[in-house]
C-alpha cells in the first residue's frame, strides 16, 4: 500500500504561519486573507437568504451561468473586472432566473430539473465560447473555473492616502459595503419576503421583483469572487458559511454574524493550510469552511449530533434509574425492610452489570438508595427514594387509567405506553390527568395509585380532593375560590365559615374521609362534631387541607407484600 503520509510535508509553525505575517510577506498575506474573507463573507450573507428560502440550487446555477456573461462581455471588448462586467453578470443572473421560471411554468419540467438544464447549458456555452475565442479574449478556462487567490496581491495597487489595496480587493471591499448596505436598508423587506411571500405580496411588496434583485446582487458578488476563487468554489462560499450559521443559531441577525465569523476563520486557516500543503488556496479555504460546517453539525449546542446523543443517553440513564426505583418499590425493598439482591434486580430489568452499577452509583449520590456495605450486593430505597418511586408509579398508573377511560384503549394495551411515558410527563400534567379522572384511588387493574406528594398551596397543604378514605385532615383555607367563599373567610370574621349547597365548613375544622363516590366524584367527610358532608369534585379541589396522618406510615404501596422475603 502506498504510504500517503509521504505526500504531506512536515508542518513548521515559523515557515507556514509566523513568517508569513512578517515584513516582506506581510502585504501579500494580509491582502490574500482579506480577499478570501471578503469573498466568503459577501457570498455568505447572500447565502443566508438562499438557504432560508430553499434556493441554494439557484445560487449554484447562477454562480455557473455568470461565466457566460463574463465571456460575452470580454468578447464585446469589455475589460475584465470592469463595470461592464458587473452589469453583464447581473443580466446573466437575471436571465438565468427568468429562463428557469419560464421553462418550469410553460412545460411539465419541474423546477429542479429546469434549473439543472438551464445552468449547465449556459455554463457549457460559456466554456465553448472561451475555447473558440481563446486567442482574442484574455481569459483561460482554468483561471475562471478555479481562480487564483495568490495573484490577488500582485495586481496594480489602488491607493487611498497611505493605504494601498490591490484593485480586486478594493473592488470586493466596495462590493461588500454596497451589499451590506442593501441588506441593511431592505432588511425588513427581505425578511418578510423570505419568511412569508404571500403576506409580503398582500402588503404591496413584490416578492418576485425582490427575488430578482437578490439574484442580480448574487451575480455581482460572484463576478467579484471569480478571479480569486473561480466559478466552481464560489458555490461552497455561498452555502457552507451560511449553513454552518444556520445550525448554530435561531436568530437571523446572529446567522449573519456567525456566517461572517466562519468566513474569516476559513479564509485565515485555509490560507495557512494552502501554504503548508502547497495546494490551491481557494480549495483549502473551502475545505476549512466545510470542516467548520462538520463541526457545527456534530457539536452544535442545540441541534448538534453530539448534543442530541448526549440528551438521548441521559434520558436512557434516567429511565434505567427510574425503572430500578420502581422495581424496588414493587418488591417492598424500602428503608428498614430487607433489601433486594442487586444481581436479581439487574436480571429482571434486563440491565447489564455496568448499567446497574452506574444507576446504583448515581441513585446513591442523590440519596435515593441505601446499599449494604459488602460491594452493593443488597440495596433498598431511602425515604426520599421511595417518594420518587411513588411519584413514578403514580404517573404510570394514572396514565394507564387515562388511556383506558378517556382514550378507550384495551387494558392489555396500556402498560408498554405508560412504561415509556412515566419518565417524560411533567408533574403538572400528571396532576391534570389526576383531576380529569376525578382523583381515582386505583387503576383499571385495581392496583392502588400512590398519593400525590405535590402540595397545592404551601408545603404540606393539599386539596381535599386528594384525600383518600380514612384520611384525617384540618381545613386551612380556600385556594382559587369563588367570591362567595372568600368573602366568608376574611380575617375579620371571628368564625369564618362557608356555605355552599347546604355545605357548612369552618376554617380549622378537622374532618375524616369516610366514603368516596367515583362517578360523579363525591367525597363524604365526617366533621369533628360528628356530622357528615358530601363534597362534590369542583369544591373538593378548592378546599385546602393539611393532612393529620403523616404520609410515611400509610402511603407505602406494596403490590407484592411477599416481596419482603428478599
Amino acid at each position: 500500500m502506498t504510504d500517503f503520509t509521504q505526500f504531506i510535508p512536515p508542518f513548521r509553525l515559523s515557515e507556514h504561519v509566523l513568517e508569513l505575517w512578517q515584513e516582506p510577506q506581510l502585504y501579500d498575506t494580509s491582502m490574500t486573507v482579506l480577499m478570501g474573507f471578503l469573498v466568503s463573507a459577501v457570498c455568505g450573507w447572500i447565502g443566508c437568504y438562499l438557504i432560508l428560502q430553499g434556493m441554494a440550487l439557484l445560487g449554484d446555477a447562477i454562480s455557473h451561468t455568470v461565466l457566460l456573461g463574463i465571456v460575452i462581455v470580454v468578447l464585446l471588448g469589455g475589460s475584465f473586472g470592469g463595470p461592464a462586467m458587473f452589469c453583464g453578470a447581473a443580466l446573466t443572473g437575471l436571465a438565468t432566473t427568468l429562463l428557469i421560471e419560464a421553462l418550469h411554468s410553460t412545460s411539465r419540467v419541474k423546477e429542479d430539473a429546469a434549473t439543472g438544464i438551464v445552468f449547465t447549458s449556459l455554463f457549457a456555452l460559456g466554456v465553448v465560447l472561451i475555447g473558440i475565442f481563446a486567442g482574442r479574449a484574455h481569459i483561460d478556462t482554468s483561471h475562471v473555473l478555479f481562480g487564483n487567490l495568490l495573484e490577488v496581491a500582485n495586481g496594480q495597487p489602488y491607493r487611498i492616502g497611505r493605504w494601498a489595496l490591490p484593485v480586486p480587493v478594493a473592488q470586493m471591499s466596495l462590493l461588500a459595503v454596497l451589499i451590506a448596505g442593501l441588506i441593511g436598508a431592505f432588511y425588513k423587506e427581505l425578511l418578510v419576503v423570505s419568511f412569508d411571500p404571500q403576506l409580503a405580496a398582500s402588503l404591496g411588496l413584490r416578492p418576485r421583483l425582490i427575488r430578482y434583485a437578490m439574484m442580480a446582487m448574487l451575480s455581482v458578488a460572484v463576478v467579484g469572487a471569480f478571479e480569486s476563487v473561480g466559478a466552481i468554489l464560489v458555490v461552497a462560499m455561498l452555502i457552507s458559511p451560511a449553513a454552518t450559521a444556520y445550525l448554530l443559531t435561531r436568530r437571523l441577525s446572529m446567522m449573519f454574524l456567525y456566517s461572517t465569523i466562519a468566513s474569516g476563520l476559513s479564509s485565515l486557516f485555509g490560507f495557512h493550510l494552502a501554504y503548508w500543503l502547497d495546494v490551491s488556496p481557494a480549495g483549502a479555504m473551502v475545505t476549512v469552511s466545510c470542516s467548520l460546517f462538520t463541526i457545527a453539525f456534530l457539536f452544535g449546542p442545540q441541534q448538534g449530533i453530539v448534543a442530541k446523543s448526549v440528551r438521548h443517553w441521559r434520558l436512557r440513564l434516567r429511565t434505567q434509574q427510574e425503572n430500578l426505583l420502581r422495581c424496588l418499590l414493587e418488591q417492598g425493598a424500602v428503608a428498614e425492610s430487607p433489601a433486594a439482591q442487586l444481581h436479581q434486580l439487574a436480571v429482571s430489568l434486563g440491565l447489564s452489570r455496568w448499567s446497574t452499577a452506574l444507576a446504583v452509583w448515581r441513585l446513591r449520590r442523590r440519596g435515593w438508595l441505601l446499599a449494604s456495605q459488602n460491594q452493593f450486593q443488597q440495596v433498598a430505597l431511602s425515604f426520599a427514594g421511595r417518594q420518587e418511586a411513588e411519584r413514578l408509579e403514580r404517573a404510570h398508573r394514572l396514565w394507564e387509567t387515562y388511556l383506558v377511560e378517556h382514550v378507550g384503549l384495551a387494558v392489555d394495551h396500556v402498560h408498554p405506553t405508560a412504561e415509556e411515558i412515566e419518565h417524560l410527563l411533567s408533574d403538572q400534567l400528571v396532576e391534570k390527568v389526576d383531576d380529569a379522572l376525578g382523583h381515582p384511588d386505583t387503576d383499571p387493574l385495581g392496583e392502588p395509585i400512590p398519593r400525590s406528594s405535590i402540595a397545592d398551596w404551601s408545603p404540606g397543604v393539599f386539596s381535599l380532593s386528594k384525600l383518600r378514605i380514612g384520611d384525617r385532615a384540618r381545613i386551612v383555607g380556600l385556594g382559587d375560590s369563588p367570591v362567595e367563599l372568600t368573602g366568608a373567610l376574611r380575617d375579620s370574621d371571628p368564625n369564618p365559615a362557608c356555605e355552599v349547597v347546604g355545605l357548612v365548613l369552618t376554617l380549622g375544622q378537622e374532618l375524616k374521609v369516610t366514603a368516596r363516590n367515583p362517578q360523579p366524584a363525591i367525597w363524604v367527610v365526617v366533621l369533628g362534631d360528628g356530622h357528615s358532608r358530601s363534597i362534590p369534585h369542583h369544591l373538593a379541589d378548592r378546599i385546602l387541607v393539611q393532612r393529620l396522618t403523616p404520609p410515611a406510615t400509610d402511603s407505602v404501596t406494596t403490590t407484592s407484600p411477599s416481596g419482603a422475603s428478599y
Partner: protein
C-alpha cells in the same frame, strides 16, 4: 371623459365577474358578490371548490382571468392598507430563525413603508396584540418551538398589528386546539364590534352557523351568498356539497387541455 359616480357608501369588498384559473385550468367561474361591512362572513364549500383561490385573488395574489375586485369602491392597489391577509398556517417555514415578536412586527411593515425600521411604538403595539391573543409570554420565543394553536395565534396577532378594516383569513381554525378555537372566535367577534369586516375560509359545517353572520357557499361558482339563517339550508348545502357539477369540471379540464 365620463366620470363614474361612486356610490356614497361603497361596500368593503365588491367582486365582479371574477374568473380565476390555476395552471390554465379555470377554478372559479364568474363570481359576483358584494360583502357587507361589519360582519363575520364564512366562505364554505368542499375541497377544491376554490375557497382559498377566491380570497387569494381578492388579495391580488393570483391573477384574475377576467373581472375585477374593488375595496371600498377603489382598486385594491390603492387600498392595501385597509386589507389584512392571514395565510394558511402551513404556507410558511416555521423553522425560520425569527422570534414571535419578529413575526408580529411584520404586520406593521405596510404602514412603515420603505427604509423605516419598527421602533418602540411598533414594539408596544406588537406586545399589545400578542396580549390580545394570549401569547404575551411568548414574545421572545423562537417560532420553531410553538404548537399549532400557538402558531395560529401568532398569525392572528400579526393581523391585529396590521390594524386593517377588512381581514381575509385562510382556514384559521384548521388543526388548532379547542382553547385556541374559542380564543380566535372571541377575537373575531371583538373585531366585528369595531365594525371591521372579516372573510373567513372555513370547512367545518358543524361550527359554521354559530360562527358566521353571513355565508358564501362556493363550489367553483357562487352557489349562494346571504345571511346565515337564509343560506345555511339543506337544499343549498346539498347544492354546494352534492358532488361537483360534472359538466363544469369537465369543461375546465378541456379548457386546460387545449391551453396547455
Amino acid at each position: 371623459m365620463s366620470t363614474t359616480a361612486v356610490p356614497p357608501n361603497p361596500p368593503p369588498i365588491e367582486v365582479h365577474d371574477l374568473t380565476v384559473s390555476y395552471d390554465k385550468k379555470p377554478v372559479l367561474w364568474n363570481i359576483d358578490v358584494s360583502f357587507p361591512e361589519g360582519q363575520i362572513i364564512g366562505i364554505i364549500g368542499p375541497n377544491g371548490a376554490g375557497k382559498s383561490t377566491l380570497i387569494k385573488s381578492i388579495m391580488g395574489l393570483m391573477p384574475a382571468e377576467s373581472g375585477w375586485v374593488k375595496v371600498y369602491g377603489q382598486p385594491l392597489a390603492r387600498q392595501r392598507r385597509l386589507v389584512g391577509y392571514v395565510p394558511q398556517r402551513e404556507s410558511v417555514d416555521w423553522d425560520f430563525p425569527v422570534t414571535v415578536r419578529d413575526v408580529v412586527l411584520m404586520g406593521t411593515y405596510g404602514k412603515l413603508g420603505l427604509f423605516r425600521r419598527p421602533g418602540k411604538a411598533e414594539r408596544e403595539l406588537c406586545d399589545h396584540c400578542l396580549m390580545q391573543v394570549g401569547m404575551a409570554a411568548f414574545a421572545d420565543r423562537q417560532i420553531a418551538n410553538l404548537s399549532g394553536g400557538q402558531r395560529q395565534r401568532v398569525f392572528l396577532a400579526r393581523a391585529l398589528a396590521q390594524d386593517s378594516r377588512i381581514y381575509l383569513m385562510d382556514e384559521p381554525f384548521v388543526g388548532v386546539d379547542a382553547a385556541t378555537e374559542a380564543a380566535i372566535i372571541e377575537l373575531l367577534r371583538t373585531l366585528k364590534r369595531q365594525n371591521r369586516t372579516l372573510l373567513v375560509v372555513h370547512h367545518d359545517l358543524q361550527t359554521a352557523p354559530e360562527y358566521f353572520d353571513s355565508m358564501l357557499m362556493l363550489n367553483m361558482r357562487l352557489v349562494a351568498f346571504g345571511p346565515t339563517q337564509e343560506v345555511f339550508t339543506t337544499p343549498l348545502l346539498q347544492k354546494t356539497y352534492g358532488g361537483r357539477l360534472t359538466i363544469l369540471s369537465e369543461a375546465a379540464e378541456q379548457v386546460a387541455g387545449t391551453r396547455r
